[in-house]
């Protein structure tokens, strides 16, 4: 079987990353932003694993991606808690309303 | 020419036939098709049978007769008749619903349940996808099922459904923890996550089954069973579709074919977790009577097609064990009252999780304690294989000599073991 090569995976990762960034930049829904973050992390993960397979990174890449997955779960939990708190206080999840500290 | 039953995978066999006109991806696709067809059988048939069994068992428990007419006696074709009826119904979607997701949800459920079957060994070596971390992937795939339920609940546009979906989400996320922990316990005992290896390790007399391996695994099996009940939304944990509170929970708005897909998924998942329990704890495809097993194996070695016959026998044993577990699930459902949602969460978070953690700790420490106290890793002298010795040595194949990186890597893996001698 011929190899797809590293570039293909990296491009997919880049697309994921960019989508995530756009998601973060455009969504007014707090949870939407969270999803954007997840996309960005996944883009990074994909890069890690691809490098792990195709370059000298070796298992380090896989382990790093494992750590990223676990930390992303933690991040999601905290972010969700914050979102719920925010919702409790503002009765909406629109992050544009989160401007209480604006000078 | 490699005999079909001796090939390690179907792909190998088809490759070995040397059919020249097949494209390069041909054998893989062909094998996939065959596997899917086989699995669909195991996916659909038992589900149908169990739906029928549920009706009969519940009827008997309630001192009724249940279906009696369809198919002559015992109403054994009742499931089929139901299916036909459901297929004929109109495919409805409520006006307020998110139609796209609403239509999609049942497929997610059914696909998740089906995919889990790919990793299940039905008999020694009969697995569609043999993976080293088969158990892990199977559990992961099975956990996707909840997504369908939650989306179904959300997209229905009904508060009953929404509540059902939320409950399901909370319940599943919680019960995944004890389920995972107790599923890891046999892995600790076996030293591998390969389901086929785990099954093969329980060869021999009945006390070689992992459930009887030590007190911790024994308890772990029951925790596992309870957690599977909950993750399957089976009574007494069927809060997601609690008909007395939520009409029908997340399936309130569904009808016809899509409704039946949910049910098919549920019963298939029931069968799957039972089979998983059998592989992990109850000796898989072994009878638990060593002479009998040995006799089977000797048949397999002696006569033509023996290998095949033996595996078929193993599969029968396996199916019977799983069916018994499914029947226990049915029995539990029609015997115990439903819990409240807070009780469900309490059961999980305050009892099952700590118990599972304790058992996990126990099963890790148990051989150490045995070694300290008795000087060996098994309770009874000579029974079973010592736990530490069970762990398969990392695969180090003796390749032909050429300076290939992987070879040298393998060499070094062996190094630590070398040190020990």
């Amino acid at each position: 079987m011929e190899s797809v090569g590293l570039s293909g995976y990296l491009i997919v990762g880049a697309v994921l990353f960019v989508c995530g960034v756009i998601c973060m930049a455009t969504k007014r829904n707090g949870i939407g932003i969270l999803m954007g973050v997840e996309l960005v992390l996944n883009g990074a993960n994909l890069n890690f694993v691809a490098f792990s397979q195709h370059t000298h990174l070796g298992l380090d890449g896989q382990i790093a991606s494992l750590f990223v997955i676990v930390l992303a779960a933690a991040e999601a939990a905290v972010a969700l808690a914050i979102a719920l708190n925010f919702y409790n206080n503002h009765l909406t999840i629109d992050v544009d309303r989160a401007a209480d500290l604006k000078g | 020419m490699t005999p079909v039953l001796a090939a390690s995978t179907l792909t190998d066999w088809i490759d070995a036939q040397g059919i020249s006109w097949l494209p390069e991806w041909g054998p893989v696709v062909l094998a996939a098709v065959v596997h899917v067809i086989l699995l669909l059988t195991f996916f659909g048939l038992p589900a149908g049978i169990f739906i029928w069994a549920e009706r009969k068992v519940s009827a008997r428990i309630q001192d009724r007769l249940g279906p009696t007419r369809v198919g002559g006696r015992f109403g054994w074709l009742q499931s089929l008749a139901d299916g036909v009826k459901l297929l004929q119904k109109e495919d409805l979607a409520p006006a307020d619903s998110d139609k796209f997701l609403f239509r999609l949800a049942p497929y997610i459920v059914i696909v998740a349940a089906f995919c889990a079957f790919m990793f299940l060994p039905f008999s020694n070596g009969w697995t569609a996808v043999a993976m080293d971390c088969g158990l892990f992937v199977a559990l992961a795939v099975l956990s996707l099922e909840v997504l369908g339920v939650v989306i179904a609940g959300y997209s229905s546009g009904s508060k009953w459904s929404l509540f059902g979906g939320m409950r399901e989400a909370a319940q599943m996320v919680s019960y995944e923890v004890p389920l995972g922990l107790t599923a890891v316990i046999p892995v600790v005992v076996a030293g591998t996550m390969n389901l086929n290896d785990i099954g093969n390790m329980q060869q021999g007399m009945i006390w070689n089954w992992f459930v009887f391996q030590n007190p911790f695994t024994f308890l772990a099996f029951f925790v596992f069973f309870v957690a599977t009940l909950a993750s399957n939304k089976r009574a007494p944990f069927d809060l997601a579709e609690a008909e007395s509170e939520l009409v029908a929970g997340f399936i309130t708005e569904y009808s016809g074919f899509r409704w039946s897909l949910f049910f098919l998924g549920e019963y298939a998942a029931m069968f799957f977790v039972s089979a998983l329990g059998v592989v992990l704890f109850l000796g898989g495809w072994w009878t638990g009577i060593a002479p009998l097993d040995n006799w089977f194996v000797s048949i397999g070695e002696s006569c033509w097609m023996g290998d095949y016959i033996v595996r078929v026998i193993g599969m029968k044993i396996f199916l019977v064990k799983s069916a018994i577990l499914v029947c226990v699930q049915i029995w539990v459902r029609w015997t115990l009252p439903r819990l409240r949602i807070d009780q469900v969460m309490t059961t999980c978070l305050k009892y099952l999780v700590p118990i599972a953690c304790f058992l996990f700790l126990g099963v890790v420490l148990y051989p150490l304690i045995l070694v300290t106290v008795l000087g060996r890793t098994t309770l009874l002298p000579g029974s079973g294989v010592a736990m530490g010795e069970r762990v398969p040595v990392p695969v180090v194949e003796a390749h032909d000599f050429h300076p290939e990186p992987g070879d040298v890597a393998a060499e070094t893996v062996a190094a630590p073991q070398e040190e020990e001698h």
Binding site: M24, V95, A99, K102 | -
Partner: protein
């Protein structure tokens, strides 16, 4: 005795006595912590305390029997076969001998009683040949061991030990028995306290009211239990340091119990007095301890375990096998050699023989004895004991007559091997003086408890005297007998006081014998016993017809007579006790007659008097039995024989021209020779005293008031207790006050002024510092703050608070960076 049996017996005794010892502690803890929750009207504490101490008594009794068995001193043996030396030299009755053959010398005696010697090889061997079966042990035989090691400093260590011999077991039995009786008595006596609101008639509040407080029944019993624990611990202790610990604990209990009616000024003062007086003695004790620790490196009495090669005890180091102190040199250069287990000189780390300056040994002995002086209320520290009568009467009976004050005598007896002849002489003189002073004061006091208190002082002096003159047996014999009859008399007085509604003045009593017959006649037994009266007829095996006090006092007089015969310069040591014996008989009968006979002097008291309840009379009867018969058989009786088992080896044979002063201590044989003579003289003196008292106070043949008027100055002198309190006041208290005043002045004038000037200086500096702070430091900080604030204000606009905009900025910035990189970075 084989090592196996030795260990077995020792273990049995150890556990029995430990149980008896720790039970009161358990009782104390439960009472103290549980008493808080139980009601004020509950007697539970009393029952618990009685239960603990009674169980302790049973344990002690079993231990006593075990001991007798182990020592082959079974009951019939004691009666019929008086042992070895004791029997040979002390087979005494009123000038008649039961068994003439026992007059023979030791060897003949040993031959004669071959069978007996076979039974008790350890004793005979030790006594006759000085070679103990288990090494260098001047103390016949004893069990010892360690409970717990408190601290270890290299080879030397501080431990909790036990040391069990005949004396220990006997003391245990005596203490637990008397304590049991007194606990029972106290249930009745202290029943006033079973109330939520106890009115203390002796505490006067302004406005003519009396003080009210909740009853303290449980507290009383918890203190009693603690006291029992401490006393038993003292007796069981296996090293001198442990003795000191319990010594202090006993002192604390005494303090608590004397000050039980803490609201009464007199009681709290008396408690303080007792405590401080004891501190004076304990100071000496501590000096003694330090000397011993420095030179000997151990506190243990002796190590007698046959199969255990532990450190040697103090006694074994000081005395040779034969029981002598081996010395060398003269005067201050004199040194004493320490002995090793093999009978040779103990070698130090440098290979030289270990020695201790002789004078230090004397000082150590005197120091320890100073502790005994304080605890046993000997001259010159005797003044606290009469004041201690402020405590409830059971306390007086238990603590201040029978047991605690006896602890001093006990320690003097226990530590006897460490005392050099010089120390013994001091002990003897102190004892004699104390006996005389106590007795004379007792002549004139009218408070019934005070009479008994002074008689206690006097009797303790007797015991010390006996020990000082080498009559080890006599002293401890008297200790036991005295404990019984003195506690009996105190309880009787308690019964009288209780019956007369807390009236203690004898001048208001009289004619009570009809009102309270049991109390009257039990007290009579005590009075006769302490007076040493007897009928000079001898019965076989039983000796003279007499009560216990006769035998023991007889022994003391005999010892002192023998001593003064051998050392004519010290003949005063015979005459003082003889005279005192007469005085004793007089004042005891005076008290008895004044209380129970004659005409009632105060009709109010007389009319309301009543016999005490049975819970109080029962103990009286029990104690009176023992007061009468515990010493039956005299010095060949069971009690004396039991004591003899723990007598130090060197006592029996006497000591010739020992020490710097060349004193000679009488041997058993010599004491025995004086016995009949001394006995007659003592009896005569006692009879005289009795008759005079009868004439004075019963027959009214002579008016006491007339005599009082005649000897007015002497009476005043005695009444003011030989003016000890005044002397102490002017000697110690006032100078201290003056010094304190000077100190105060110095404090105020010099120290305070200096401190004040320091403070004002600091304030001045601080003011300057503050100005600097405000002008320089604060301004700098403020400038920074203002700059930062201004910067913040200007940058505020950038902070839009819109999350998505930030993301956008970041992304745009990344793009820009890349572009810049691509444009300007060389490829």
């Amino acid at each position: 005795m084989s090592p196996d049996i030795y260990i077995e017996t020792g273990t049995t005794l150890k556990w029995l006595l430990t149980t008896a010892w720790l039970l009161p502690l358990a009782g104390f803890l439960i009472e103290v912590f549980g008493g808080y929750w139980s009601g004020r009207k509950s007697r539970a504490a009393a029952f618990l305390a009685v239960g603990c101490i009674a169980t302790g008594f049973v344990c002690s009794l079993i231990a006593l029997l075990t001991w007798l068995d182990a020592a082959d001193l079974n009951v019939s043996d004691i009666w019929q076969n008086p042992r070895a030396v004791a029997a040979a030299t002390h087979e005494v009755s009123e000038a008649t001998h039961v068994d003439h053959e026992h007059d023979a010398d030791h060897a003949a005696d040993a031959e004669h009683h071959g069978d007996h010697e076979h039974a008790v090889p350890a004793h005979s061997e030790e006594e006759h040949h000085g070679h103990a079966a288990h090494g260098n042990n001047p103390l016949k035989f004893a069990f010892n061991g360690t409970f717990y090691t408190l601290a270890k400093f290299g080879r030397i260590q501080i431990t909790l030990d036990y040391y069990i011999d005949g004396l220990t077991v006997l003391m245990f039995t005596m203490v637990t028995f008397i304590a049991t009786c007194i606990h029972l008595f106290a249930i009745g006596y202290m029943s006033d306290e079973l109330t939520e609101s106890y009115e203390d008639h002796q505490v006067h509040l302004p406005g003519g009211k009396h003080f009210h407080r909740p009853g303290r029944f449980y507290r009383f019993f918890s203190f009693l239990s603690l006291f029992c624990f401490a006393m038993l611990g003292l007796v069981l202790a296996g090293n001198i340091f442990q003795v000191f610990i319990f010594w202090e604990l006993v002192g604390v209990c005494s303090y608590l119990l004397i000050g039980f009616y803490v609201e009464r000024k007199s009681a709290s003062t008396a408690a303080n007095k007792a405590f401080i007086m004891n501190r004076v003695g304990d100071f000496g004790f501590l000096i003694g301890l330090m000397i011993l620790w420095t030179w000997f490196g151990t506190f243990q009495f002796a190590n007698t375990n046959p199969d255990q090669t532990g450190e040697q005890g103090l006694f074994q180091m000081v005395r040779t096998d034969a029981g002598a102190i081996e010395t060398e040199g003269e005067g201050l250069n004199r040194v004493a050699y320490m002995q090793s287990a093999t009978g040779e000189h103990l070698l130090g780390n440098d290979g030289q023989a270990r020695r201790i300056p002789y004078w230090l040994l004397v000082v150590a002995g005197l120091g320890i004895f100073a502790g005994c002086v304080g605890k046993s209320a000997q001259f010159p520290l005797q003044t606290w004991l009469p004041d201690a009568m402020e405590g409830p009467t059971p306390v007086s009976a238990l603590v201040h007559s029978a047991t605690m004050v006896a602890a001093g005598v006990y320690l003097a007896g226990r530590f006897f091997p460490m005392f050099t002849p010089e120390v013994l002489l001091v002990i003897a003189y102190v004892g004699a003086i104390t006996a005389f002073i106590g007795a004379t004061i007792a002549l004139v006091v009218t408070d019934i408890k005070q009479v008994l208190a002074y008689s206690t002082i006097s009797q303790l002096g007797y015991m010390m005297l006996a020990i000082g003159v080498g009559g080890w047996l006599a002293g401890l014999f008297h200790l036991i007998t005295h404990a019984f009859f003195k506690s009996l008399m105190f309880l009787c007085s308690g019964s009288v006081i209780h019956g007369c509604h807390h009236e203690q003045e004898m001048t208001k009593m009289g004619g009570l014998y009809k009102k309270m017959p049991i109390t009257c006649w039990t007290m009579w037994i005590g009075v006769v016993a302490i007076s040493g009266l007897a009928i000079p007829i001898t019965l076989p095996y039983l000796g003279a017809i007499s009560f216990s006090g006769f035998h023991s006092k007889d022994a003391i007089i005999a010892s002192s007579l023998s001593f003064s015969t051998l050392n004519p310069t010290h003949s005063l040591l015979f005459f003082i006790p003889l005279i005192t014996a007469g005085i004793t008989a007089f004042y005891m009968h005076r008290m008895w007659f004044m209380t129970f006979f004659g005409k009632p002097k105060d009709h109010h008291v007389h009319d309301h008097a009543h016999e005490s309840p049975w819970v109080m009379c029962g103990p009286l009867l029990a104690l009176s039995f023992f007061a009468a018969f515990c010493a039956v058989g005299g010095e060949s009786g069971p009690l004396a024989n039991l004591l003899l088992t723990s007598e130090p080896t060197h006592v029996a044979g006497g000591v010739q021209a020992a020490g710097e002063l060349g004193l000679t201590l009488p041997s058993h044989h010599e004491i025995h020779e004086c016995h009949s003579q001394a006995g007659m003289m003592a009896l005569l003196a006692a009879l005289m005293g009795t008759v005079v008292a009868y004439l004075f106070y019963c027959k009214q043949a002579v008016d006491p008031a007339l005599v009082k008027a005649r000897f007015e100055s002497a009476h005043r002198f005695l009444k003011s207790k030989w003016q000890f309190d005044e002397i102490y006041d002017s000697m110690f208290t006032r100078p201290v006050h003056v010094v304190a005043k000077w100190c105060t002045g110095f404090d105020r004038e010099a120290l305070d002024r200096f401190l004040h000037s320091c403070a004002s200086l600091a304030v001045g500096i601080a003011q300057w510092d503050r100005k600097f702070d405000e002008a320089v430091v604060d301004r700098i900080v403020n400038v920074f703050g203002e700059v930062t604030y201004a910067a913040g204000r200007t940058l505020k606009g950038v902070q839009t608070g819109r999350l998505r905009q930030y993301v956008m900025f970041i992304a745009a910035a990344v793009v820009c960076l890349f572009v810049v990189l691509f444009l300007f970075l060389p490829r």
